[in-house]
Amino acid sequence: MSAKSHSLVMLRRNTKHITRNPTSVFNAVLMPIVIMLMFVYMFGDAFDVGVDYIDYATPGLMLLAICYGLGSTATAVNADMTKGIINRFKVMDVSRGAVLTGHVVASVLTNLVAIAALVGVAFLLGFDPHASAAQWFGVVGVVVLLAFAAGWFTVALGLSAKSPETAGLAAVPLVMLPFFSSAIVPAEKMGPGLRQFAEYQPFTPIIETLRGLINGTPATGDVIPALAWCVVIALIGYLWARSTFTKRA
């Protein structure tokens, strides 16, 4: 049996888990939509961002949707580790990375479903993008890359945590990070300190890249740091996950 088919078996297992766990579906898919409705209807008029608020917020909320899905990935990975399932796979003649790959791919797929739902609702709220077909491909590419990078990082967090509860908690900073970026309001509107943080944290260039692509005006100055951040996060996550997986028994 190849590593690929083992990964597929694991992916099927993870998707079954997700569909049987209503909390994870709620967190991953519904929560971003709730937040979108909240910001657009309740606070939207209070922010002056120069364009329609829904057009400003949607790219940021896409990123938020990715992050919201991560909590349940971290918990699921940790449960596998602490409940002995991973040890069961490790003593079988099963490709070593398959169980982790399964989690990452399931996490990416959940993110894509969540983002599709979110963008659908955004259109209902009057979202008016100006991207060309090629730029839409770019949007999907950036989303998948980020989801993949964040997925590996979250798997590493989940493997390292002592219990499923602390694993969920470890993912909270990832969920909070988009709020301190240009996702909801432009960085230049923030107070000193916070503003510098928002400008230099990884999510801001990623959001600005998505925003540029969706508006049909991508800026190289954002795209390069965005891609670099994704690669760095993916690499750290992957190496960290691999070494924890090998060490912990």
Partner: protein, 312 residues
């Protein structure tokens, strides 16, 4: 390849500066049951983890199913099955899905898979619960499902790490019957346990692990010869009474601090009456009288000079 399923020599393992396994050697004959007996923290699970490729040893050589653990871990994994101390079943999947998952991950051909799953469900009396999520299973059912999952790939050597800890007596006996069936099919079993009775019931060979060393290794009968047999314990109120009783019961062993005497006996009513009659004859009476059969504590007391509690 010899007739040994597992050959361990000079196995050492330490966590940081804490030595867990301090050079252990043993051999397990193919098709037999080898039981490793020891209290919590003796190093049983560490031994299982090393032998099943989960952990790397710090020293020594291990061959499992004829393959060197250090260089042929993949071949070892293909030959073994492991059921750990905690039932490693997927709680969100049903019993059937759990078994199907093992089929999908093993070398079993897909068309045989269905039959294997059905057969195992039946053999472990899980057919009725097959469509329910494993999270609804009782402790005994989970252990059975866990073991059924281990059997999917037809492993030649099965490691069972405390398979009956925490089970009620009925489930424990079911588990024993299952283990006996496996042995009858020619499977080699490596079993760890805290229960002397379990080792006695199942094992061809018993090794006692204490503080990272094997303090005994032999057949259950060998082991029992080394430990005090069934005896009657008499406790007295004063040293004078103890002395007087010790004079009329020459076989007895004294426990001066406890003011007690241990009198060897078969535990039957006849020998008990004879003992009491003899005490009566000399107008002696004990404060307390109890019959003892050897347990793990006695094994440890005899072999290591301390009890299981002190070994922790």
């Amino acid at each position: 390849m010899t007739n040994s399923a597992i050959v361990v020599s000079g196995l050492r393992k330490a966590y940081k500066d804490k030595v867990v396994l301090d050079g252990i050697d043993f051999e397990v004959r193919a098709g037999s049951v080898f039981s490793m007996l020891g209290p919590n923290g003796a190093g049983k699970t560490t031994t299982v983890n090393v032998l099943t490729t989960l952990m790397k040893a710090d020293g020594g050589t291990v061959r499992v199913a004829g393959h060197d653990l250090a260089t042929e871990a993949k071949a070892v994994r293909a030959a073994i099955g492991v059921t750990g101390q905690f039932a490693a079943v997927d709680e969100l999947l049903t019993g059937q899905e759990n078994l199907q998952l093992m089929v999908d991950l093993s070398r079993v051909r897909a068309k045989d898979g269905k039959q294997i799953v059905g057969g195992l469900l039946e053999r472990f009396e899980l057919t009725e619960a097959a469509q329910k999520p494993a999270s609804t299973y009782s402790g005994g059912m989970r252990r059975k499902l866990d073991l059924a999952m281990t059997l999917v790939g037809n492993p030649k050597i099965i490691f069972l790490d405390e398979p009956t800890t925490g089970l009620d007596p009925r489930s424990r006996h079911t588990m024993w019957a299952i283990i006996r069936d496996l042995v009858a099919d020619g499977v080699t079993i490596f079993l760890t346990t805290q229960y002397l009775e379990e080792a006695d019931q199942l094992a061809d060979q018993v090794a006692v692990l204490d503080g990272g060393r094997l303090v005994a290794n032999g057949t259950p009968d060998d082991l029992k010869r080394q430990i005090p047999g069934t005896h009657i314990r008499l406790r007295f109120t004063s040293a004078a009474e103890l002395d007087a009783a010790a004079r009329v019961l020459p076989d007895a062993t004294r426990e001066p601090e406890a003011l007690a005497l241990r009198v060897p006996s078969d535990g039957g009513t006849k020998s008990l009456r004879a003992l009491l009659d003899r005490l009566d004859e000399y107008s002696l009476s004990a404060e307390e009288c109890s019959v003892h059969t050897p347990d793990l504590d006695d094994v440890f007391l005899a072999l290591t000079g301390h009890t299981t509690e002190a070994a922790k």
